[in-house]
């Protein structure tokens, strides 16, 4: 099957920043669930090595839009999509596209931390295991490296065989991020990653996102506007399936172009 994006050989522990800078181009994308028009025609360009935040009231389509990038909507009954989405120049909805390859390039972190009911080590190694990698040393190096990247290493290094379910919520979420990093994606999608966490864990995850920005392109859906203003470079405001405004975060929060955007971020509605 045709691979979507040129894959760097995985038998080497490689610095992701050496890979192609991944950007996402969206052209006139529409989404339906049966008869319901969830996304009504959106154009957007996501720039490499940036953090882009999607904000908007509940049900406005931002999670649906996010899941278009790694084709997780494919599993929803009645899903239909029109338009083009290109990742690093390749249309990811072409018939020949290998969805599993796509998901190695574009990782996802979910709202509620969802570690597998296995050990910490096995969680992080899972992505490598399903690719058929058996080199024990490589796997171990990668696991350690990823746990260090998410600042979890010191907390778990004494027993990597402990069950992941025994970790705290914040630790579990960082573990899920480490698990995503292990397959060396170039883009990381995050769907409200801290909404189930306490403030200190949230701060740790935000710090992590800030660090990850150097090597990865990050898109994050958030309900928390202060979070969007704290950590993102670009912000997109969605409402009822439409992209109302998309621009630099500092502009959106000091002087947005659309009145609707201003009404939302100042709390006058939504």
């Amino acid at each position: 099957m045709e691979t979507v994006i040129e894959q760097v050989p995985l038998d080497k522990v490689i610095d992701p920043s050496l890979k192609k800078k991944a950007k996402i181009e969206v052209k006139d994308v529409k989404v339906w669930y049966d008869d319901f028009n969830a996304i009504k025609g959106i154009d957007m360009d996501i720039k490499p090595n940036t953090v882009t935040a999607f904000i908007g009231p509940s049900g406005c389509g931002k999670s649906t839009f996010l899941r278009l990038f790694n084709r997780m909507n494919d599993y929803v009954e009645g899903f239909k999509m029109e338009g083009k989405i290109k990742v690093s120049g390749d249309d990811i909805y072409k018939k020949k596209v290998n969805v599993e390859e796509l998901r190695k390039e574009i990782g996802m972190v979910f709202q509620k931390p969802n570690p597998f009911p296995k050990s910490i080590f096995d969680n992080v190694a899972y992505g490598l295991k399903i690719q058929g990698i058996t080199d024990k040393q490589l796997i171990e190096e990668r696991v350690v490296d990823c746990l260090k990247q998410v600042a979890l290493w010191d907390e778990v290094k004494d027993d990597l065989n402990k069950s992941a379910m025994a970790l705290s919520g914040g630790q579990q979420q960082r573990l899920c991020i480490a698990r995503t990093l292990a397959v060396q994606p170039s883009i990381i999608l995050m769907d409200e990653p801290t909404s189930a966490l306490d403030p200190i864990s949230t701060a740790k995850v935000e710090e992590l996102i800030f660090k990850l920005k150097e090597k990865y392109t990050i898109v994050i859906v958030t309900h928390n506007m202060q979070q969007a203003s704290r950590i993102s470079d670009y912000t997109a405001f969605f409402y009822l399936g439409e992209l109302i405004e998309y621009g630099k975060t500092k502009t959106i929060f000091t002087n947005p172009e659309k009145q609707q955007t201003e009404n939302y971020i100042t709390g006058r509605f939504g």
């Binding site: 506007m225 202060q226 201003e262 100042t266 709390g267 006058r268």
Partner: protein, 220 residues
């Protein structure tokens, strides 16, 4: 966000109150000075306490708003603007107060012909109009009204520029008026500063409503 909205409205009203108080202080100071009315002047000096109290209240409210409500966009610009407006208004009231102090401290009346030569009435009237326009712009959130203030300030600048030559001439005519002349010169300088301060306030209103920064720019 009802609480934030309510607090914001309160602050808005406080801003309007400050504008009103400082306008009235300036008017009274003008009347006191032009008519050498020391009773009126005393009033102005006593009122200064109210002005200062309101100034502190507004400062504190701004700090509280920033800490509690995380304002962004227009709300944030409003807080930033109102702090500066408040600061400038307090300075205007200060000037009004020191003019009133002159009236109280000095016994002799100033010869009316000097007032005329220096165009004091025009100057005060223009300042009053500028403050009036600015207050209207603040209440109606109207940028066009705010912009009209800049032109008027040129009148003040001209009067100020001419004052040196005028006073020189008057002193040469009559040496005895030197102390009055020096006093008048000082008051004109203060009024020129008041004109600048009102201009600043207009700039802040334009920043708050339109996000346009006019500071240090040439105005048309």
């Amino acid at each position: 966000m009802a609480n934030a909205q309510y607090q914001r409205d309160l602050l808005n009203e406080s801003g309007a109150e400050m504008l009103a108080i400082c306008t009235s202080q300036l008017e009274k100071a003008k009347d006191a000075f032009l008519n050498h009315d020391s009773d009126l002047a005393e009033e102005v000096i006593l009122n200064e306490i109210r002005v200062n109290a309101l100034d502190l209240r507004i400062e504190k409210s701004c700090e509280k708003f920033l800490a509690l409500y995380n304002p962004v966009a227009i709300d944030l610009r409003f807080i930033m603007a109102i702090r500066k407006i408040n600061f400038d208004l307090e300075r205007i009231a200060d000037h009004a107060c020191s003019i009133s102090k002159y009236v109280v401290e000095i016994d002799e009346k100033i010869p009316p012909h000097l007032f005329e030569a220096l165009q004091f009435q025009t100057m005060f009237d223009t300042l009053e109009k500028m403050l009036g326009k600015t207050t209207e712009a603040y209440e109606k959130k109207d940028v066009k009204l705010a912009r009209k203030v800049f032109k008027k300030d040129k009148i003040i600048d001209k009067i100020n520029a001419d004052s040196f030559a005028v006073l020189e001439t008057e002193i040469k005519k009559d040496n005895n008026i030197i102390s009055e002349a020096l006093l008048l010169f000082s008051v004109i300088k203060k009024m020129e500063r008041v004109g600048d301060l009102i201009k600043n306030i207009a700039e802040e209103i334009i920043f708050y409503i339109d996000a346009e920064v006019l500071k240090h720019k040439k105005k048309k």
